[in-house]
């Protein structure tokens, strides 16, 4: 789209945070570079919070940033505990993958019973994701498997050392892992298949104060990001050029990653997002991540804000 550029004086400043290396959040730099934020009257500042998701969450809660893209599966627990953040939209799905070694008995979720599974953190969205999948496959994620924490890029080596038999995390880590260990690792599951197929995994997340005090800007940021997500979906190659600005890898490889995701799964907050959040909340409650006495519907209602009203 030929972006309409608002005059600089009209632009409202917002702080946008991300991890700086997550390809599944590509709509964020795309919105930045392709004028989506400006189109909606915003002047964004892009801030990177490396590593896990903890720092981004804390930055959002403390007002260092106003908006980010976050894993629903990761943020529901803090939300339950009263974290002052809200979901206002969603940008894509399908970026969590589960891997195991080729030629081993680990071929699907059900085969992971009694195994050790590598994750990047015991609170990582991928661990929550896999817990639910295991639960649905009749395996108790708390007692029937053992979770062990490794940096994502060391999963393959940990599997080789025999310390774990499978691992779960999000792209680009797992995508690159599979690519770099072609012939050794295989994908045995992921968010794009099975019960969560077609659901979004990454939501536009804003701080509660921001959406309450500046609802217009929060809505504008949400529109900018969801429109950018749609643009990424429609223009994977062009958007891979944006991604390449933030990646050491060449654009064609990044385009491949982008194509493997579901950037078409994007929408602003409405009934659909709230229902999805409720599904996740319910599942997380079943595997014990969320407390028994928490009502998933209630949590979903609290967690999402419909910017269209």
């Amino acid at each position: 789209p030929g972006p309409y550029i608002a005059r600089a004086s009209e632009l409202k400043k917002i702080n946008v945070g991300w991890t700086g290396s997550s390809i599944c959040h590509n709509s964020l730099p795309s919105a930045f570079h392709k004028g989506f934020f400006q189109k909606h009257g915003l002047e964004p500042e892009l801030l990177a919070f490396g590593g896990g998701n903890d720092a981004v969450l804390e930055a959002l809660s403390s007002g260092k940033i106003d908006v980010t893209i976050g894993f629903i599966l990761r943020l529901l627990k803090p939300l339950e505990q009263g974290a002052n953040i809200r979901f206002t939209g969603s940008v894509h799905g399908g970026c969590i993958r589960v891997v195991a070694a080729e030629g081993t008995p680990e071929v699907d979720y059900a085969s992971l019973k009694g195994k050790s599974i590598g994750v990047s953190s015991l609170a990582s969205p991928s661990k929550n994701f896999l817990s639910v999948q295991l639960h649905k496959a009749g395996i108790n994620p708390q007692s029937d498997v053992e979770w062990r924490v490794y940096p994502v890029d060391l999963f393959a080596e940990a599997i080789k050392k025999g310390e774990i038999q499978a691992a779960a995390d999000a792209d680009p880590g797992t995508f690159l892992l599979l690519r770099n260990n072609r012939g050794f690792l295989k994908e045995i599951g992921g968010q794009d298949t099975g019960i969560y197929s077609g659901l979004s995994c990454c939501a536009v997340t804003v701080s509660k104060a921001f959406v309450e005090e500046r609802p217009k800007d929060a809505a504008a940021a949400t529109y900018a990001l969801t429109e950018a997500a749609q643009w990424v979906f429609e223009n994977p190659d062009e958007s891979s050029l944006v991604a390449a600005k933030y990646s050491p890898h060449p654009a064609p490889l990044l385009a491949e990653v982008i194509r493997s995701h579901r950037h078409d799964v994007n929408y602003t907050a409405n009934r659909r997002l709230r229902d999805e959040v409720a599904i996740y909340a319910n599942d997380l409650r079943e595997v014990g991540v969320i407390r028994r006495r928490t009502d998933p519907e209630e949590l979903a209602k609290r967690a999402t804000i419909d910017i269209e009203v």
């Binding site: 290396s21 720092a55 403390s62 940096p151 892992l177």
Partner: protein
């Protein structure tokens, strides 16, 4: 600081005490080094790679250029005496470096013993530098700025804390338990608090670095102040010195050697905290760069940044010791670097 090792001090006995200014010996060590680098270049270029690696030729050329430079220095050692002495002293280290480089080259690119892409060959690192030098330069600048502010503030605060703790028992009553409990807290654990308390991420990051600096500087300044020889105070008091003079002209100078040990410790701590602090909403920084490169499984970039870090931080530490040697004339002893 004199770099005497113990054996040198002893062996002045065995060697004749009058040492002739060492002549520019024509010993061939530098030629060996040049040869080693030339050979390593040959290995790089002529031994076929197991898979395609960019910049293989460039690397070989660079290795040869370096070999040629060594040779030039050897031939023109008369004109380049200073440089020659330095390189000549380091000749065997240069040989070792060439050998290590070749082992790395052969194990990764030539025989494929080391798994790819986790251990890219040297040309992979070269490639990262060439492709990404702008971002890397930005990161170096950002890290140095953060380090400068963090260490500066932390050292100042630590110095004042240590000084007042050592000087006044009243202050010590409050600061000592505080130091004991909060000094050893790992900086990472404080990230949530820091994010809430500080207005910007930069100030938060600088605070984390400052905190890591504060603790060792405070402890060692405190030790320094309370171990000042009391006769130093006696001398000044009989000559009419007031409290202020005792503090500024006796306690502080006498404490400086301890302070520098503290700063040395602090620098080490600050550097490891830097990596964490740079995950807090920064746009560049070596810690951020490392995390980013690891997130993208871009190992050429990762090792490239590691090498830069090693050189940079070693340089910063050397700078600290340089300053110390200027400041601490006459106060012998101290940490070696």
């Amino acid at each position: 600081m004199s770099n005497h090792s113990a054996i040198e001090t002893i062996s002045t006995a065995e060697i004749s005490p009058i040492k002739r200014a060492s002549t520019l010996s024509a010993n061939p060590e530098l030629i060996y080094a040049a040869g080693a680098w030339a050979v390593s270049g040959v290995i790089t270029l002529l031994w076929p790679n197991t898979q395609e690696f960019e910049r293989t030729t460039d690397l070989a050329v660079l290795q040869w250029i370096f070999a040629a430079l060594l040779l030039v220095v050897h031939v023109f050692r008369g004109q380049l005496a200073g440089l020659f002495r330095k390189l000549h002293y380091n000749a065997w280290r240069l040989v070792a470096l060439a050998v290590l480089l070749s082992i790395w080259q052969v194990a990764s690119a030539k025989l494929g013993l080391w798994p790819q892409p986790y251990f890219p060959p040297p040309q992979g690192v070269l490639d990262a530098y060439i492709k990404d030098y702008v971002r890397l330069a930005d990161s170096i600048r950002a890290s140095l700025i953060l380090l400068f502010f963090g260490v500066g503030l932390g050292a100042l605060a630590g110095f004042l804390t240590g000084l007042s703790t050592g000087w006044s028992p009243r202050v010590g009553y409050w600061t000592i338990p505080f130091l004991r409990l909060f000094g050893p807290v790992p900086a990472t654990a404080l990230i949530p608090i820091v994010l809430f308390v500080f207005p910007t991420s930069f100030s938060g990051g600088a605070f984390l670095v400052a905190l890591a600096t504060w603790f060792p500087v405070a402890v060692l300044t405190w030790s320094g102040v309370s171990s000042v020889d009391s006769s130093y105070y006696d001398v000044a008091r009989t000559l009419g010195a007031k409290e202020r003079f005792l503090l500024l002209k006796v306690a502080i100078p006498a404490t400086l050697p301890h302070l520098f040990v503290g700063l040395f410790m602090a620098l080490g701590g600050a550097i490891s905290v830097l990596v964490v602090a740079e995950m807090l909403g920064v746009k560049a920084g070596l810690g951020f760069y490392l995390d980013w490169a690891q997130g993208w499984a871009a190992y050429g970039h990762l090792y490239g940044a590691l090498i830069v870090m090693a050189v940079l931080f070693s340089g910063v530490t050397t700078l600290l010791f340089f300053v110390r040697d200027r400041v601490l004339v006459g106060q012998s002893g101290g940490v070696q670097w």
